[in-house]
């Protein structure tokens, strides 16, 4: 079985898991987004077909919620918190530093697909502001000059 086929089997499994649940479509998309890092056109079409909902409804949902990405993402997802506490404590400076370091803007992915840079409105670590989260790890009380060494930890 080639890779593409295998993926399709997996996708169907995910869809079937939530099929019986009322309103399960968002859960389906979440799991696919988690597993594959993004929602491909094929995946969205399959979800629409299997759940018997109009494709536009699936596409609407996929573009409405920020948790979903329609483009492949980098191996490491960097979320810069821009909640109020982080904002007050200079979170946007950390974002600018990351943008300069990585040569991409928020919402973009580096060419070699290593990092995706995003902003998030509060991850609830306000006491440690300014905070960023790389994959599962949160880093608090940041300063611009600490950014390069943190990036080195996630290669």
């Amino acid at each position: 079985m080639n890779d593409k086929m295998k993926r399709k089997v997996d996708l169907e499994k995910v869809i079937n898991k939530y099929k019986a649940e009322k309103g399960g479509i968002i859960s389906v998309l979440q799991e696919i987004n988690r597993e594959y890092g993004y929602l491909s056109e094929d995946a969205l079409k399959l979800v629409a077909k299997k759940l018997d909902v109009p494709l536009i409804q699936v596409y609407s949902i996929a573009t409405f919620y920020t948790a979903f990405s329609l483009k492949p993402r980098g191996r490491h997802l960097i979320n810069v918190c821009l909640g109020t506490a982080c904002f007050v404590k200079g979170g946007n400076r950390i974002l600018e530093k990351l943008e300069r370091e990585l040569g991409i803007k928020a919402g973009e992915t580096t060419k070699e697909l290593r990092y995706s840079l995003d902003t998030v409105h509060c991850i609830g670590c306000c006491s440690l502001a300014p905070v960023i989260r790389i994959d599962e790890d949160a880093y608090g009380r940041l300063k611009q000059e600490k950014v390069p060494e943190i990036l080195k930890k996630h290669k």
Binding site: T66, T84, F87, C122, C125, C126, S127, Q144
Partner: protein, 634 residues
């Protein structure tokens, strides 16, 4: 096992107490999200490792967050018959030392935050006393003496940090599920609603609607089935107490929901958890499974014939889903677009059926009110705002963390007593409450007694309890711009005032911050703010102008300085400031030169440096790294 009666519950309580207070040393590590962010997992691992390596007779346990997030990682040491000591700002190295010391009977005072003299079991109205005579601990301040904790009264946060959230028996040991047992065996549905009504409890998530009344509306509404929802879409930036409760004490929310479900006549519930809180979602999921195993959720709860099940619905990143009708749309698998109210969810909610939605904190309060009674609860707080409120005290303040205090506390007490003032001796300028729906309250109103009414009168609101402190270095135009940027991103885009109006307000604010605005723009900004507030479909648009309106009301001179003098008094707005180096103070250490991304700084080693203004992008890194205060902003 399935719990069928009080006797079963009492038996589990004994087991839970043994787990909370074992006959040997127990070292608890706070493993909430903020603990983990400061390295608590590594601390936990090194403690476990050291205990094993040294073969010490001790346990290591996990707890939720004790609220003093500033001092994380927190480690709490229980030793039978000895002082209970909480250590702060631990790291793996210190943790190893601590374990070694404990084995030799030593206390590490220098790392201690406080000693617990007693622990309040709020549900039972009892106190567990600890030894405070022990000689090693006598210089360590008592829990009640710590400014951060002194004025606190923990009801919603009663268990956070004091128990293992993964252990249902520990929850039971602290009085958990006894209120539910009482409700199901002795109280009629109406009596429960009456009790909640009389307690004066109001919604802790936003506008503060009376909870008992909300329950009654849903109970009286026609239609089956009825749904119960816990709104855990804690979207206000700067507020994270719901996360802390779900992570540190998930059963308190479940118990509250079952009680509510019984009173309203519902058999199905949802907890709508924010996407950004993966740990909270896991914690609730685990708690639901446990409660089902013990017969506290599911079929025939407490052998009473009452059925109730709870499902988790996870958000996908949309602030607007905190709004009731958008939240319902999201659970139904649609985009989070609000619809006009009426009909209210109590009449037509989830899948058009009667639905009752309450916030995490509201649910967590319910078991305590049932246990201690409406009279006891309503004695706390102010005339119209009863009980306590959990605030997240963050921003430019010395002590940051979660604070639960009776309603009516003065802002001054929050900032100066609990928070111990502003760092670096700076001036307190304003406090922002209520998130993007709230406003900025200036230092002149420091004597304001915080409750629903007073905050609204001041132009702000309670919201979910975020309290972000701002000092003199905060530009209020920039703050207003920040919030409108937030609401612009988070607006669903359905109605004209919210989608178009906020965009236009932001354009004006942007012009102001760049020194490009005219004086008449302020008038236009005010008109827009007023009408967007009035004409929007839902509460997101209806409150989005508040940050602008309050900053205009209290800090108008700052707006005028940007417009007339082309100056940003707080030295924040990049287009209106310049960086330069004070030749007297500069030692020529070269640190700024090294960090400057634009090579805008030049100078020989050990000689004063200078900044080329044409190259400078005002990133501020030179200002941050300078150890001699030589970089100036004007």
């Amino acid at each position: 096992m399935k719990i069928k009666n009080l006797k079963d519950l009492e038996e589990l309580k004994i087991k839970g107490l043994e787990s909370l207070y074992p006959k040997r040393t127990k070292i608890n590590v706070g493993l909430g999200t903020c603990g983990i962010a400061t390295g608590a997992r590594a601390v936990f691992d090194s403690i476990a490792d050291e205990i094993e390596k040294q073969g010490i007779d001790a346990l290591v346990g996990k707890t939720g967050c004790l609220g003093f997030c500033q001092r994380e990682p927190l480690v709490d040491v229980w030793q039978p018959g000895k002082s209970r000591i909480i250590y702060c700002q631990m790291d793996p190295e210190k943790a190893r030392d601590l374990v070694t010391g404990l084995a030799q009977g030593k206390t590490r005072k220098e790392w201690a935050l406080c000693r617990m003299e007693e622990e309040e079991f709020i549900i039972e109205n009892t106190k567990k006393k600890y030894s405070i005579k022990e000689k090693d601990g006598k210089d360590i301040p008592l829990y009640r003496e710590i400014p951060f904790y002194r004025k606190q009264k923990k009801i919603a946060l009663r268990n956070c940090g004091f128990m293992n959230p993964e252990n249902i028996e520990e929850y039971i040991a602290r009085g958990g599920y006894f209120s539910l047992a009482r409700v199901l065996s002795r109280l009629k549905e109406e009596e429960v609603i009456e009790e909640i009504k009389n307690s004066g409890l109001r919604g802790r998530g936003g506008a503060g609607f009376p909870t008992g009344l909300k329950w009654k509306f849903c109970r009286d509404a026609r239609g089956e089935p009825k749904y119960i929802i816990c709104n855990a879409d804690e979207g206000d930036p700067g507020a994270y107490m719901d996360r802390s409760i779900l992570e540190g004490d998930p059963h308190s929310v479940l118990e509250g929901m079952v009680i509510g479900a019984y009173a309203i006549g519902s058999h199905e519930g949802y907890i709508y958890v924010r996407n950004e809180y993966p740990l909270a979602a896991q914690s609730v999921e685990r708690a639901i499974r446990q409660a089902e195993e013990y017969g506290l959720l599911g079929e025939n709860i407490f052998n009473s014939g009452f059925n109730f099940r709870i499902r988790i619905s996870q958000g996908a990143g949309a602030f607007v889903c905190g709004e009731e009708t958008a939240l319902l749309a999201s659970i139904e698998g649609k985009i989070g677009e609000p619809r006009p109210r009426p009909p209210f969810p109590a009449e037509r909610g989830l899948w058009d059926k009667p639905t009752n939605i309450n916030n995490v904190k509201t649910w967590a309060n319910v078991p305590v009110i049932i246990a201690r009674g409406a009279d006891w609860y309503s004695k706390m707080g102010t005339a119209k705002s009863k009980g306590t409120m959990v605030f997240s005290l963050v921003g430019k303040i010395n002590n940051t963390g979660l604070v639960e205090v009776p309603m009516g506390i003065k802002l001054r007490e929050m900032i100066y007593d609990i928070g111990e003032g502003i760092p670096e001796g700076k001036k307190f300028k304003a406090v922002q409450t209520g998130g993007p729906s709230g406003g900025c309250i200036p230092s002149e109103l420091a004597d304001l007694e915080v409750d629903y009414e007073k905050l609204t009168q001041a132009g702000s609101m309670m919201g979910s309890g975020g309290m972000v402190v701002m000092d003199e270095d905060t530009c209020m135009v920039n703050v207003a711009k920040y919030f409108l940027n937030f609401t612009k991103d988070e607006s669903c885009g359905k109605c004209t005032p919210c989608r178009e109006g906020i965009k236009r307000m932001l354009e004006i604010l942007d012009d102001i911050s760049k020194g490009k605005a005219k004086e008449t723009d302020l008038e236009l900004l005010e008109t827009l703010a007023r009408v967007v507030k009035d004409a929007s479909l839902c509460a997101l648009g209806g409150t989005a102008p508040n940050p602008v309106l309050t900053t205009l009301r209290y800090f108008r001179n700052e707006y005028e300085a940007h417009i007339k003098d082309k100056k940003c008094p707080a030295h924040i707005c990049p287009d209106l400031i310049h960086y330069s180096i004070d030749k007297e103070k500069c030692t020529g250490c070269g640190l700024c030169l090294k960090e400057c991304p634009q090579t805008a700084i030049s100078g020989e080693k050990k000689k004063p440096h200078s900044i080329d203004k044409s190259k400078c992008i005002k990133c501020g890194v030179c200002f941050e790294v300078c150890n001699f205060d030589a970089v100036e902003i004007d």
